[in-house]
């Protein structure tokens, strides 16, 4: 469904991604893990068209989407959330989500209805008239998800939507992600919290220092000595 071939990305002289190739199978939750600075977010930026000066190809449903703009990639059916959330601060949550919905819908009324359904789905319906800037971390993450969902993606990339959440918020978020997957959307999720990845994903891809390290089921990956080394080597607190 989504296939990456030999992605390479430099910042200045700094090779941040090298030779990344993998593919996502439809309808699954795939985890993308790796220590800080491994290049996970950069990979999202490459897939969604925010970085253009990279080599390698991204193929989606048989079409090459490398070089397209984020807005065109969104239209094709790939959306993502931002690790550092970017709410539209001075408009209401409904309006925030409507903007996503308008990528598929012509009429404002329809967009508003869809936005409210989605806000209900992610559990923000009560707060729909609040301005984007007045949200807690957890709600900001939910808003990111809601806006993305409003674009009716086939593939949805989630960048650390659980970071900074407390126990109960975490539970809620896990449920939400499962519900999204159940609705048939293919998910690729970046996450540092290993237990969450273990619970949610069917397959895990590990990046380390810009390189593809390994992939497999959560059990295989966590037992892989190289993965343990990559994490313990630097950031054992995440392991």
């Amino acid at each position: 469904m989504l296939e990456l071939k030999n992605i390479e990305k430099k910042f200045g002289g700094n090779l941040v991604l090298q030779g990344i190739s993998f593919s996502l199978e439809p309808g699954r939750i795939t985890g993308l893990i790796g220590p800080n600075g491994a290049g996970k977010t950069t990979l999202f930026n490459v897939i969604t068209g925010f970085h253009k000066d990279h080599s390698g190809t991204v193929i989606f449903s048989g079409d090459k989407i490398t070089g397209l703009n984020p807005e065109d990639i969104c239209k094709k059916g790939i959306c993502r959330t931002f690790q550092v959330t970017k709410p539209f601060a001075n408009i209401t949550l409904t309006q925030n989500v409507m903007i996503g919905a308008l990528s598929r819908l012509e009429r404002i009324k329809d967009a508003r209805r869809k936005a409210q359904e989605i806000l209900d789905f992610v559990g923000l319906y009560e707060k729909r008239e609040i301005l984007g800037r007045n949200l807690t971390i957890a709600d900001r993450k939910k808003l990111e998800i809601a806006r993305g969902l409003a674009t009716s993606p086939k593939i949805f990339l989630l960048d650390e939507v659980m970071a900074g959440l407390n126990e109960s918020e975490l539970l809620e978020m896990k449920k939400l992600i499962r519900n999204i997957a159940d609705s048939g959307i293919t998910l690729l999720i970046i996450e540092h919290i290993m237990t969450v990845i273990m619970e949610l994903s069917q397959k895990v891809i590990v990046l380390d220092q810009g390189k593809f390290l390994t992939s497999g089921t959560p059990e295989q990956v966590t037992k892989n000595p190289e993965v343990i080394k990559a994490y313990l080597g630097k950031e054992f607190k995440h392991a």
């Binding site: 969104c74 709410p87 308008l102 967009a111």
Partner: protein, 326 residues
């Protein structure tokens, strides 16, 4: 009609329905040309400020070159009328279309520039047009300007007395306001807000921010130029410093900012406040204290930006919001 009733019910529009009703009725009872002139100037400058607001207020791209677009409108209709005998009714459409094309060109060139650079680029563009208007005297009359024919003739958009100008000015302002309000409530309006709030997020949600801004720029430029044409027809004399100078853009910004930048009615509020004050101050202190009103405006601009950045309407809305929430 249904729309009108709905608008009236929607209380936030009520003051403006009242405004337009008052603006339509009041002039009938005013005999003095001096006051009628005030009405006309309010309508003209409110229209121009609204046009500026469509790009600067809705998208946050600060244009300092709208004076040039106003000038393009004024010169186009005037030159077409004087040289080719083309009625200003068509001239203003031609000027507007030309300005829209120029606006799109500016957009194509400058929209990839960030904030400061966009302001500086549009400023430079405005200056180029100003200098061209000064120096191509064969076409524009240069610094000496061009006088328009004054015999009343509807075909030439030249009327007997002030009242017809009052009403054509009012219609112009209504058109600009309706366009502005339609944009705000449309898909385009949402896209523009999305761009203004966060471009990356907007693009990821499928918003073609480039196209949205170009559309806004085209509309804004068109309306600015049409206002320029109407201004030329009313004042019956144009020269580069009355229709192309940078102060016009700054004035448009002042009205919009004080009234409420990015709101549909903010520019009108600004014009209603400032135009009469300007006329009064000029009449009272004109020759003795030149520029005193500008000193005051400069201070107001600074104070509003620092302490009431959403302007009068923004502040009022926040207050209402708070009251309705309590």
């Amino acid at each position: 009609m249904k729309q009108l009733i709905k608008n009236i019910r929607n209380s936030s529009h009520l003051p403006f329905v009242c405004f337009f009703l008052a603006a339509a009725v009041l002039p009938l009872f005013v005999e003095n040309d001096f006051y009628l002139d005030g009405f006309i100037l309010i309508f003209i400058w409110a229209s121009f400020s609204s046009a500026w607001n469509i790009i600067a207020g809705f998208t946050g791209m600060v244009s300092l070159g709208h004076n040039a677009l106003f000038g393009i409108g004024a010169y186009s209709s005037t030159i077409l009328l004087i040289r080719y005998g083309i009625s200003p009714w068509f001239g203003l459409l031609i000027g507007g279309t030309l300005a829209a094309a120029v606006g799109v060109l500016i957009g194509v060139i400058c929209f990839r520039l960030r904030s400061h650079y966009f302001a500086l680029a549009t400023l430079a563009f405005g200056e180029v047009i100003f200098i061209l208007a000064m120096n191509f005297a064969d076409i524009t009359g240069g610094a000496e300007g061009i006088a328009l024919p004054i015999e009343p003739d509807i075909w030439n958009m030249s009327f007997q007395g002030k009242l017809p100008y009052v009403y054509s000015g009012l219609i112009l302002l209504m058109i600009v306001t309706i366009v502005s309000s339609k944009i705000k409530q449309s898909k385009l309006g949402y896209f523009l807000i999305a761009f203004k709030e966060n471009e990356d997020a907007a693009r990821m949600l499928g918003v073609n921010t480039g196209r949205a801004r170009l559309t806004a720029m085209a509309i804004s430029s068109f309306l600015a130029a049409v206002t320029g044409s109407f201004y030329a027809q009313y004042i019956v004399f144009i020269d580069p410093s009355s229709v192309c100078r940078i102060q016009l853009s700054i004035q448009a910004a002042l009205f919009a900012i004080v009234g409420g930048i990015g709101t549909v009615f903010g520019p009108i509020v600004g014009a209603v406040i400032f135009v009469p004050i300007t006329i009064a101050l000029r009449a009272v202190l004109g020759s003795t204290m030149p520029g005193l009103h500008l000193i005051i405006y400069g201070f107001i601009l600074i104070v509003v930006l620092l302490y009431m950045p959403q302007g009068i309407l923004g502040a009022a809305k926040n207050k209402l919001f708070r009251i309705s929430n309590n």
